[in-house]
């Protein structure tokens, strides 16, 4: 496969069970151990305002907050048309956490509001609605984060001139464990350019604080 050259990771946001890192720097810390409380506290502490946030499931909340932080201080995003920005995400558990919650509601009265989140790509929809993105999007399931696959797939989208920017990575919620690793990939070269490679995706995923 011919791959696009000169692609860069112009920003990253890694959210684990204790921190949210933006380009290697912690922007939020909380060791509650509870994903709902962690994300709600982050939402309030970071001064985010989006009433629909409260209605989202945990997976969407995690992906949404991580995207807000990822795109903060990236005014260049407004230069792209909606069709030029894509979102390619992945995880291991799909929407299983919400699937289980929905199943519980069916024992009394099935909740339409929970049901609508029983697909992982709904999270991509929430991100796209928030920012008006209309570019290519896809959600993949793999046992572990697969940086090589993400690199290949996203590079190909650039290669066929589909995208000018792409948010890609991993957003996983499984019980009381969660992790998001989002990368903004562009042709634009920032002051401290990080080449878009599988190795760099993996390094940022594993050690977000040393970027």
């Amino acid at each position: 496969m011919s791959l696009a050259g000169d692609l860069y990771i112009s920003a990253s946001c890694i959210t684990d069970e204790h921190f949210i890192y933006r380009d290697g720097k912690p922007v939020f810390e909380n060791s509650t151990g509870d994903p709902e409380e962690f994300l709600l506290t982050a939402y309030k502490d970071l001064g985010l305002q989006y009433p629909k946030f409260y209605k989202m499931d945990l997976l969407s909340k995690l992906g949404w907050i991580s995207t807000e932080i990822l795109l903060n201080e990236v005014p260049e995003m407004t230069a792209y048309s909606p069709e030029e920005v894509g979102v390619v995400l992945s995880n291991s558990s799909s929407s299983l956490d919400t699937d289980r919650k929905y199943f519980e509601t069916t024992k009394t009265a099935a909740s339409p509001a929970v049901f609508v989140y029983t697909l992982p790509n709904i999270m991509i929809g929430e991100i796209c609605i928030r920012h008006g993105f209309k570019g290519e999007n896809a959600f993949f399931i793999s046992k572990d984060f697969d940086p090589l696959f993400i690199w290949q797939y996203v590079s190909n989208l650039f290669n066929i001139d589909t995208l000018q920017a792409c948010i890609c990575g991993w957003v996983e919620v499984a019980g009381r464990q969660w992790k998001a690793a989002l990368y903004l990939v562009e042709q634009r070269k920032t002051d401290n350019p990080v080449s878009f490679t599988a190795d760099n995706l993996k390094t940022l995923f594993q050690t977000p604080w040393i970027n």
Binding site: Y54, K55, A109, P112, A113
Partner: protein, 88 residues
């Protein structure tokens, strides 16, 4: 204040997970959808569930939805008119 209306406001906030809205923020005649509280079609389904769960009132005709869910007051009026009809 009408107790049914005040109860409905609390139940709507809980059912729709509107953590940034207080009962006093919702006017009795304030539109619930679009320009009012900004509810959407999924919220409408949740309101139908709310009527069934809390008041045993079933919305049997979907065409009645816009009229019934116009405001908290119209919801209360519908409940009063149909509360004696158990959900089958």
């Amino acid at each position: 204040m009408d107790k049914l209306i005040s109860d409905l406001k609390v139940q709507i906030i809980n059912q729709l997970n509107m953590q940034d809205v207080k009962p006093e923020d919702i006017g009795d005649d304030q539109p619930l959808f679009v320009e009012g509280l900004g509810l959407d079609s999924i919220d409408a389904l949740e309101l139908i569930v709310l009527l069934q769960q809390n008041y045993k009132v079933k919305l049997s005709n979907a065409d009645d939805g816009p009229r019934v869910f116009k405001s908290v007051r119209t919801m209360a009026d519908y409940i009063r008119a149909h509360q004696n009809q158990a959900v089958k």
